[in-house]
Point group: C2
Chain length 263, copies 2
């Protein structure tokens, strides 16, 4: 916990009172990913599970497809470096990578996460989840993040089945939190198909492409989607449930996977 | 309003009822910025005020310093393109830009927003704001976004003085919302020094560097800061007020600019 939180002495002011108090603030650290001896990118992230983050980032960017392709991952926590070596695939680094990153850039543009990236292939899955199960698991998810409860400064993400949270992580970035999940799944051989992703963050097009790549059939968010998020979920066969708060939820797409009381 | 919102027919489920209802969802669009005939970056954004966004992005990335440097900005809304021509400064495009973007990448890394970018120079300002003024202006800020109130899917940002919101904008991205403010300020000759930025988003190191570049002495957030955000605010002489909700606020740095009841 200590490596993700720093205490600051601050002034807390309310209508009635003022006091100097200790405040817990979430840590932010630059992490540079070096892929086959070439500097690929620097992410700003929560300094925990950096190996998962680096591997998950490479998966989400389409630069890594399976565990077999990895030959070595080395972390230098102090300097904020992750060195990833892959077997072969030299052509994926250098100019090609640079070109892709430039096109997508800081905003992670649509050209990067093109239909070709996910193959445009529909996600097939027979998974069903009931509305009661959704309310229960989202409630568990929201109480799972000690870091969020302490600092209110992070996003959370989880891989679940209908009843249990299987992998949970958190990060100052909503992308990073999901990438940490997928990095762990790849490194520890945890299946992602027929499973559910829960996120505290908004559902934009990029998040949809990210989960589609891992063949996730259901995505649930505490927050709202964008129109592109809804359209991509619809076309890729992904069930999108969002704005889940208290005892309310919105089902945007593919509700055939949701068992409701009225069915 | 229409160009930023799309209606979807969704299933809304609560503990007691279920219904098909219309839901308003915030729009997301890719915007490619072409600087002096070279494709620079593709941002995902809310499709409004694209000119402000493109110019603001260039300012924040250090690629544009003043209005005088601009010779032409052309928007192609349908194809999602902004073409920006600058006078001279050819050396700023091409390899140099590419190198900078790669180093910083999608995560907008620390090496990009290095101390050199802001000159490491302290922001000097005699501005003072009272705690009552902060509560009042933040309350006004939170009720200013029709798009947020409708969709809950956007971040807001505003340039203010102690009493009034001077420029307001919103976007699916917290960076974009602030960039739209700075783009408008540059194009319409609105001064930013001695003024205040309010944001709905978290205060990370990158946000601090962005406001420091525009010599903003006070930043206020509804949300939380990271430890790097606090440290950079401290070292650059910026007053950082965060977690302003209802009648509570936290002052993290340089509270000499805040007039409280106890003083």
């Amino acid at each position: 916990m200590d490596k993700t939180i720093e205490k600051f002495l601050i002034r807390r002011i309310t209508k009635e009172s003022e006091a100097n108090v200790e405040d817990m603030v979430t840590k932010e650290q630059p992490l540079t990913i070096i892929l086959n001896d070439e500097e690929l990118v620097t992410l700003l992230c929560t300094p925990a599970d950096l190996k998962y983050l680096a591997v998950g980032f490479l998966i989400s960017e389409g630069l890594l497809k399976s565990k077999d392709e990895l030959s070595k991952v080395t972390i230098d926590e102090i300097r904020g470096l992750v060195r990833v070596k892959t077997k072969g695939n030299k052509e994926q680094t250098g100019e090609l990578v640079f070109k892709r990153l430039i096109t997508s850039g800081c905003g992670r543009g649509a050209s990067f996460y093109s239909a070709a990236d996910t193959g445009g292939e529909k996600v097939e899955s027979q998974i069903k989840i009931s509305t009661e199960q959704i309310f229960t698991i989202v409630n568990e998810f929201q109480h799972n993040s000690q870091l969020y409860l302490t600092t209110h400064g992070v996003h959370s993400a989880a891989l679940c089945d209908q009843k249990h949270i299987l992998v949970f992580n958190e990060d100052i970035g909503r992308h990073n939190a999901i990438d940490k999940i997928f990095g762990k799944c790849l490194l520890e051989d945890i299946a992602t198909s027929d499973r559910i992703i829960i996120t505290s963050g908004r559902i934009t097009s990029e998040i949809l492409h990210k989960v589609a790549k891992r063949r996730i059939p259901v995505i649930i968010s505490i927050s709202s989607p964008t129109n592109l998020g809804v359209k991509i979920a619809d076309s890729l066969g992904i069930t999108l449930i969002a704005s889940v708060r208290g005892q309310k939820m919105n089902i945007y797409t593919h509700m055939e996977r949701v068992i409701s009381n009225e069915k």
